[in-house]
Amino acid sequence: MSASNGNRLTPEEINRYSRHVTLPEVGVSGQEKLKAASVLSIGAGGLGSPIGIYLAATGVGRIGVVDDDVVDISNLNRQIAHSTESAGQPKVETIRKRMLEINPLIRVDIYNTRLTRENALELFSQYDIIVDGSDNFQTRYLVNDAAYLTGKPLIYGSIFRFEGQMSVFHPHREGPCYRCLYSNPPPASLVPS
């Protein structure tokens, strides 16, 4: 993820990200790493919304979003990328619109499809980092396995009611994967719908 010449910051970008580039931990070189980076976000819902918005605002150069759902009014209490007027539209469309409103200098690629065993490896191989904001166990295990098989680090998070959990899985380098933690899904009848 080192910045090549094509990822040099323009004056416009230096200005937009000035509160980053003045941090010693980031600097111009760090912001160039962000510009050169690509991140794939799974889901444009409760987790995917703020993830997409923050990564866009931060200046991650290429962000992909996968989701096959459309916006429902009952999503709007928590899925903050979408708006009342976007009800009925594909979530990936409305989140891309919001991300580019905040930061038109990045690229947002959207996939209005369900993540499946057929498309996951091909999709993951095009990105540096995978972020999982999915809401079901089938997708969570698929994301974990596909991230491992393509050698990508995975940012994992899940929420239920008032509680949440998060970790980073990068078993090729160190540490466990999701299966090390939960080798099997809960029985289907215990999974809240």
Partner: protein, 183 residues
């Protein structure tokens, strides 16, 4: 999660690798616990059995075995289910009947069907002694699944005249009472 992503890109700070962060918003507590690689992990362990993507629908569809001592007989749902329209005409006919709402109190607050009585499934056993075996008993829940569970419990106590609202109160709101709030 966005912050962890950015840290990985920048190579700054300590990522959550090997740690599980737990967040409890009601207590407003963050805790993190160490998590270890499982050497027997089927994916990233020493002898992995998963070397390509699998069928995740099948993998996640696994059910608990039925507890021993419980009758393996399945309930014939179709035989005890009643449609929203039929329940409505029975209520309107004024005939003697008992209508039980087996949802939880926070759901009862949102909507209910008159003249139902609230008997949550979580405490259902304690209401059974208060019911009359001779009554025609109609049960409903949100989508029609919990009411079948309650109905089965009543059957096991020897009740006979039992009915369950197919599709639950959600179906009722859709088909019979469009003015009812839905959730």
């Amino acid at each position: 999660m966005a912050t962890e992503t950015i840290k990985l890109i920048l190579g700054q700070g300590e990522p959550l690798i090997g740690r599980l962060m737990l967040y409890d918003s009601l207590r407003m507590q963050f805790r993190d616990v160490r998590i270890r690689k499982d050497p027997n992990c089927e994916l990233c362990g020493e002898n992995p059995s998963i070397t390509e993507l699998i069928d995740y629908e099948a993998f996640c569809a696994v059910e608990l075995p039925a507890p021993s001592g419980q009758s393996p007989e399945e309930l014939d749902a179709a035989a005890v289910e009643i449609s929203a329209a039929d329940l409505k005409s029975i209520i309107e006919s004024g005939q003697s009947m008992t209508l039980l709402d087996v949802r939880e109190p926070h759901e009862w607050e949102i909507n209910r069907i008159d003249p139902a009585r609230l008997t949550p499934l979580s405490k259902f056993e304690q209401f059974i002694s208060e019911l009359n075996r001779e009554d025609e008993i109609y049960l409903y829940c949100y989508k029609g699944k919990r009411s079948l569970t309650a109905l089965k419990q009543l059957q096991e106590h020897g009740f006979k005249n039992l009915h369950s609202l197919a599709g639950g109160i959600d179906k009722w709101a859709e088909e019979v009472d469009p003015s009812m709030p839905r959730y």
